[in-house]
């Protein structure tokens, strides 16, 4: 195999696929990036068997071939090469990388040993802008669980219904829901996509509002295609939680508050929270005023914020971190919070695009 690829293009392609290289594996071939120039295109692939990424890179094929290169050292070498054309030559499994006056030789592996990406039928795609896809992931994924004991909670539900894509993440303490309107109607789809897949996709997506990403669903897999890249991921098996039953439009207290002010106060309050003793922040809601109190072994904090309020006075405790995450995921200057009682979930929501549910925490006394 003999290839000539501009360093910048090669670097960008390597960075894209390396997101699917497992950090720990017992299969050395998975620690490799496959460089495939058997056809007229140069393709780079990485595959951790749950998640696979393939991207096409522009370049010249002087001799066809395929080789698997160790992802770690190959990425580092490419990153540090001077700008210019990178020449990659293989002789058996020895790979020579040349650029300017620099020449590296490393040991590759037989490309035939590499695990191919699963086939996903690419007939029927749901289309969404790259910006919106990234945005909807970033604004929900923090609510998914990172604890593998309940696999379904580590994923996000992607639900297509007519012209709407709804994305849901939950971890047992909170729920994040975002809906976006699509450009056209689609067949109904439901799939639980692993959080790790979505996290990696959100890092690769350029965030262009003009460019489109296509999503292909199959029984066991989902495939995202954008620019020169495809990301294939296994789906999580099982039925997702019946979230609609947990959502209620009823409330007895409604407050409207400046988002950034509340966020700053909560941000300060966590200074007093130690990992060991999870002290709640207590909201004391009265007409026109929200008092925040927290006290721990480190010290105590007390703040007052102006609010618009209707309904009853209420005292309620929260894990401040969950509120912070939700408030950071909202763009609006002001937010509406709907509450029922000190034991019922709080809803931070607008009419149709987002709903963040946070369960309250019991607290003993408010002094």
């Amino acid at each position: 195999m003999k290839l000539i690829i501009a360093k910048e293009n090669l670097m960008s392609a390597v960075m894209t696929v390396s997101k699917a290289v497992p950090s720990k594996t017992t299969m050395p071939i998975l620690e490799c990036i496959l460089i495939n120039a058997e056809t007229e295109k140069i393709k780079l692939t990485a595959n951790d068997t749950e998640l696979g990424i393939e991207t096409t890179v522009a370049g010249e094929i002087a001799e066809h071939g395929v080789i698997a290169v160790p992802a770690d050292i190959f990425t580092n070498i490419v990153r540090k090469l001077p700008d210019g054309d990178v020449r990659i030559d293989t002789k058996d499994e020895t790979v020579t990388i040349r650029c300017g006056q620099s020449r590296f030789t490393i040991q590759g592996r037989d490309g035939q040993d590499f695990t191919q990406l699963p086939e996903v039928d690419r007939e029927y795609a749901v289309e969404i802008t790259q910006f919106t896809l990234r945005d909807i992931i970033n604004k929900t994924l923090f609510s998914a669980s990172t604890n593998d004991s309940n696999k379904i909670m580590t994923g996000e539900l992607f639900e297509v219904r007519d012209k709407t894509l709804r994305v849901i993440a939950l971890d047992g303490h909170r729920i994040a829901i975002r809906s976006v309107e699509l450009r056209q109607s689609y067949d109904n789809e439901k799939a639980i996509i692993p959080g790790k897949t979505l996290s990696e996709i959100s890092k690769i997506l350029g965030g262009d509002t003009e460019k489109t990403a296509k999503i292909y669903f199959s029984d066991k897999h989902v495939l995202f295609a954008f620019d020169e890249t495809i990301v294939v991921s296994r789906l999580i098996d099982g039925e997702y939680f019946m979230v609609d039953q947990m959502l209620s439009k009823d409330y007895s207290t409604h407050i409207r508050i400046k988002r950034q002010d509340l966020l700053s106060s909560l941000d300060r309050s966590v200074l007093l929270v130690k990992e060991e003793d999870k002290k709640p922040i207590i909201f004391l809601i009265t007409d026109g005023n929200l008092e925040l109190r927290i006290s721990s072994t480190i010290g105590s904090m007390d703040e007052n914020l102006a609010i618009e309020k209707d309904g009853q006075d209420l005292n309620i405790g929260f894990n401040p971190k969950f509120l912070i995450d939700a408030l950071r995921a909202i763009d609006e200057e002001e937010v509406d919070i709907y509450l029922q009682s000190s034991r019922a979930p709080a809803f931070i929501r607008d009419d149709s695009t987002y709903c963040y549910l946070v369960l309250p925490v019991n607290f003993i006394s408010i002094d």
Copy 2:
């Protein structure tokens, strides 16, 4: 005690002194910052008994007093407070910190328990610009040892002779020497200043070429005074190494090379160096050409760089990291390297301001 201090000023003062708060200590009072408003000035002090920092902060004293506050939580609270006037009130050892609508209460400690900074006579100072002091530290300190087994190597020699300040750091594999001309002549001084002290000073110094830092030497201590801050440090006991005897102006090979090109090549070469097997980079010097070679279990690299050369051809091996450190500390576009043999140290030096000595590494074969 009742104080009013603008948040920005308080933050800056806290950040300055917190450099002297020990990360681990068995004496809880040392984890505190002392706030002293017993006189007409508000002074903040931290002291890890090796290194002490004191700074004066502008503010209003409504009631005199002194208190020690836990550095960690106090710093975090001040950082996250909104902009505006911060009010610090104490009642016994309870400290209330107010700013805007926010109020924190934390537990302080009796200020009388705090370890005072050692007294250093401040009659005779060596003066240097803040920029130069920071620069000379940053360009030598990397050569000091971080291994406590030889205490003297963990410090830097500060040597004043007439109009020159010379600073030396060495770790047994390399030596860094920088000289600067002072504005006037001073009495001769010699002191071994702990590397940690110099590292913290270089972080606090603003790098202003107009502003002056004063250095006061005593038998056991050194005191740096700049802006509203003083840094007092113990000196390291003992005689420093006789470095002048190790410096030689003789050479049999001299090369002149573009600094950035050599640095980039060396930077790439370390990709192939694993912690376990410290492979040297081999210089093959011939007329007009420097070939660099390195090979390890990961792979091999080979590069050619244009040089100006006089004297004999030479093959010599180095730990690339030591060369990288030295080259990064030089500003010039081109550097001169003087060599004697494959077993004698290499000197990267100019006529009078810097000299970096690096010992060579034995290598078996060059293929």
